[in-house]
Symmetry: C2
Subunit: 548 residues, 2 copies
């Protein structure tokens, strides 16, 4: 036999939190060391469960509860030779002594555990607005399997649900509750759904929800919930009142960082645990991972929290890697902010910075939006994808991308997330060589087309305009006659593109001209013709599909 | 009015070929110059048709023939203000005089045209093996709408079809002919389908075809076809005889480069027109694009042809860009070789170099294959993707990737094609931040998992073995008992992973041990345990899914 390869013999590792980040840290640690003493301390009764799946069990897409319990405490313990302490809360850290005080929530008993390395993966809790009625029995948040079970039980005897908050979880819940046959209202404090997405793309999500009968309200602030017989009434600042038998609160999460705060670890502005590229906190023996931390922002610099499952898992792995492999560990490269949500027949996804982020950070940017088919338009089933790019005017580097559609939205945003990580420019997007066969893509993929449009804009070939201008303005609708009649653009004159050269006399050269078509491509072709004939011609980005 | 922005007033541009590369060149040229005189010379009757869609019209997925004719000669001419000469062949170039001799194929009339810039986009023709019977009336190749129409007509009165060649078109044809209810045989000269794909992945395509009743033959060379009453008999070197009412030849394409050859332009080893990064041939006034050219190979250096629609379109655009914008044009970055094919319920895709390519070029490489779910395995509909990475042991740079599965194969290969273009390493793949919600992905995407596996292999944590070793060898099947009984691994002893630590006494420390599981993940966990206890333990890559 060879001598054992494990370094750091018998290291004592305590991990606070047994779900995404904590479970990944434990698994990677055990892979790297059979001799380490690894203890997972979890406040709840479950470890390593699929919390992203909870809405889909409530809605019925997932039928087996056991499918969500990826590991039980016993199976995890057995598989990885861990000590797993569930229903146990970590109550304080003594960084000098390297000890952790833990409390058995069943017995109340407290004990002190020594650690060589401590990994904090406590997650984040749903925000509970401090409002009258928030503690009524049928007002729920959704974080754990128990929350899910309570909602699931209650739903058997209710008819209407109010979802407060139109972020990722709120949207998934609205979709799933409607699947389950309930009357659903969704109220969002902001003027749009999914605030990380820019508003012109977010609109399509609202349409999808509206068409399925979800009752939507924007820019509404809830002030109280009152029991009203067997149902409840939610009251809003505007005077709006909504009746609902059950309320789901999904207005965001706050990091569970009090343990870190009390131990004197450095926190960020919004209370997240700040970590370096190896997930070390300001105390190098204490690591942190998951929803409670903020990591380096790869796009804009500084730090950003990103409370999502993917980062949590990979951060937990990074922490374990660094504990055993030191500088040979693969650093976590920071966050870029990739996320996706399905809402009925619309899928919205984002990577990198949005316009809102860039404006907030005073970062100069340019943007273009295209509409393109998800695969060859001559092959059945193609769907339109709206794809928006944001890039830096200084060096043409991609800053972010957003898309909405159905088929292939995830693919394009994953490609752009990869491009973003690689610090690619809009030029690089033009010649990405992506899969093309009719069922999967097009000879010029939407990502290529978006690159072309962005470069054309930068190079002055495309003079963009981002809305239908208010009349009086010279607007030329270059779609075929039938299309312009069935879906007219207010104030526009129709000159189909193939006739434009011969009908130039109808366009006034002494005032600006705005061209529009269905998707924003033909209007660009028209504007190129006009510009070359000396007109001050602007193409309306995204066409009727985005602007009407 | 502003002065016209167009440079190169009144440039005369001749474009040979009016489909992908030629049509894209014409469109971009017109966008850049209203004043250029642009003539498209097309040997056939059609321009800008969707040649990648032809098999799907034959099979019935596409029902409207007009959907394939993206533009007619008249509409293209009108849209772009072009002269379009169909049924016209370019017969010779005089590079000194800058003239092109063209022949009207209807009248036989020849004329000489002057050019300032010439763009060659003649494409490639299907190879017609020089064999007895190849000119029988029901022996077809498929390149044009007319070929498609002939096949379509003939199919109405035949029952069986022989497809010769199991490349992309052969596979698409086999699928579509079977859809149409025909008896299909497919014969491939090589020992596997789709030679660009490595053989262990290609096997799954053969299974998919076989299960749908396609009669498959490998390593067979056809020697003749003989008419036999109303049917035909194809004869092969091995003695094999196959009867078929119709034969489709899809044994590859050869570049239509005779015009370039005769004009003294530089060609590559296999007769492709060699171009620089702006698609210029060895004569800077002559450009070339599409299936007839070879471009720089971005991965291995040198040149490579890539007769696919995406590159053709983007190369045509690059040529036009350089004609009008000179050094400000965006160069074509070379080919990486991304391609995809669907065969019933299997999708295979590749990007970059295969093992075969790397061996041929004596390029050192490492490889790993993983099996992973296309999206969260607890959400319905997840499918297994086999994903193989190839990378350089010198600098860990990705050299290629291949995948087979159903859902999400295109997405992962597109992500990896982007990573390849960005010259990413296997480390970079570990922390790509990709879309995750249960219907779309997993917290650790298959691309991340492949990155982890590759890094583990490089870092010595994973000692790979690429097949089930021949017994006698110590093989430990670490799957659950039931699984190991229902699908036993020959010669293996079953010790389920959770029991491994307590049953180490059953593993002989004095001989190597090979661990195997279903997908190649649990066997890695087992090998890590064994290695740390001093065993020479190897994990069988891809598990039972790849190796049994």
């Amino acid at each position: 036999m060879n001598p054992s390869e494990s370094s750091a013999e018998g290291l004592r590792i305590l991990i606070v939190g047994g779900v995404a980040g904590g479970a990944s840290a434990a698994a990677r640690a055990r892979r790297l060391s059979e001799s380490a003493h690894i203890t997972v301390i979890e406040r709840g009764p479950d470890v390593s469960f699929a919390n992203c799946g909870l809405p889909y069990y409530i809605g019925g897409d997932i039928t087996q509860r056991d499918d969500l319990a990826v590991q039980t405490p016993t199976s995890l313990s057995q598989l990885l030779n861990l000590e797993v302490l569930t229903n146990t809360e970590a109550t304080s850290i003594n960084p000098l002594e390297k000890t952790l005080l833990i409390k058995n929530l069943a017995t109340g008993e407290t004990t002190t555990r020594h650690y060589d390395k401590l990994v904090l993966a406590p997650g984040a809790s749903p925000i509970q607005p401090n409002l009258p009625g928030i503690d009524l029995p049928r007002v729920h948040t959704l974080r754990t399997l128990q929350d899910m079970d309570h909602i699931d039980q209650d739903l058997d005897c209710v008819a209407s649900v109010l979802v407060l908050g139109g972020g990722f979880i709120g949207l998934e819940m609205a979709e799933q509750l409607q699947h389950r046959g309930l009357d659903v209202s969704l109220v969002e404090r902001n003027p749009q759904l999914l605030p990380p997405l820019d508003s012109e793309l977010s609109r399509d999500l609202a349409v999808a929800l509206h068409e399925k009968g979800v009752d939507l309200h924007f820019s509404e602030n809830m002030t109280s919930i009152k029991a009203d017989g067997s149902t409840m009434k939610a009251h809003f600042q505007s005077g709006l009142e909504l009746e609902a038998d059950l309320v789901i609160l999904s207005v965001g999460v706050k990091p569970d960082s009090h343990l870190a705060l009390e131990a004197g670890l450095e926190l960020g502005e919004r209370g997240h645990i700040r970590v370096n590229e190896f997930q070390q906190t300001s105390d190098p023996a204490i690591y942190a991972a998951g929803d409670a931390v903020e990591t380096h922002d790869s796009i804009l610099g500084g730090y950003r929290p990103l409370p999502l499952g993917g980062p949590a898992n990979r951060q937990g792995r990074t922490a374990a890697d660094h504990i055993f492999r030191g500088e040979k560990a693969l650093p976590y490269p920071g966050s870029i902010g990739t996320a996706i949500v399905r809402v009925f027949d619309q899928v919205a996804a984002i990577t990198g910075s949005s316009e809102r982020d860039l404006i907030k950070r005073s970062t100069p940017y340019k943007t273009v939006t295209i509409n393109a088919a998800s695969h060859a338009d001559y092959y059945p089933g193609a769907e339109i994808i709206k794809l928006k790019l944001l890039w830096s005017p200084d060096d043409s580097r991609l800053l972010g991308a957003q898309a909405i559609g159905l088929e292939g939205v995830d693919k394009r945003i994953d490609v752009l997330a990869t491009a973003l990580r690689a610090r690619m420019t809009i030029d690089d997007l033009c010649h990405l060589e992506l899969c093309y066969a009719p069922p999967f893509g097009s000879a010029k993929d939407p990502v290529n087309l978006a690159g072309f449009a962005a470069c054309n804009l930068r190079d002055g070939l495309l003079k963009p305009f981002y809305a239908v201008p208010e009349t009086p303005a010279q607007i030329i609708d270059v779609r075929p006659v039938a299309k312009s009649q069935s879906q007219p653009v207010p104030g526009a004159k129709n000159i189909p593109l193939p006739e434009l050269r011969s009908r130039l006399g109808e366009v006034d050269p002494d005032q600006p001209v705005f061209t529009i078509c269905q998707m924003g491509k033909t209007s660009y072709f028209a504007a190129r013709i006009l510009q070359q004939h000396g007109y001050d011609a602007h193409s309306i980005i995204g066409g009727v599909n985005v602007n009407l």
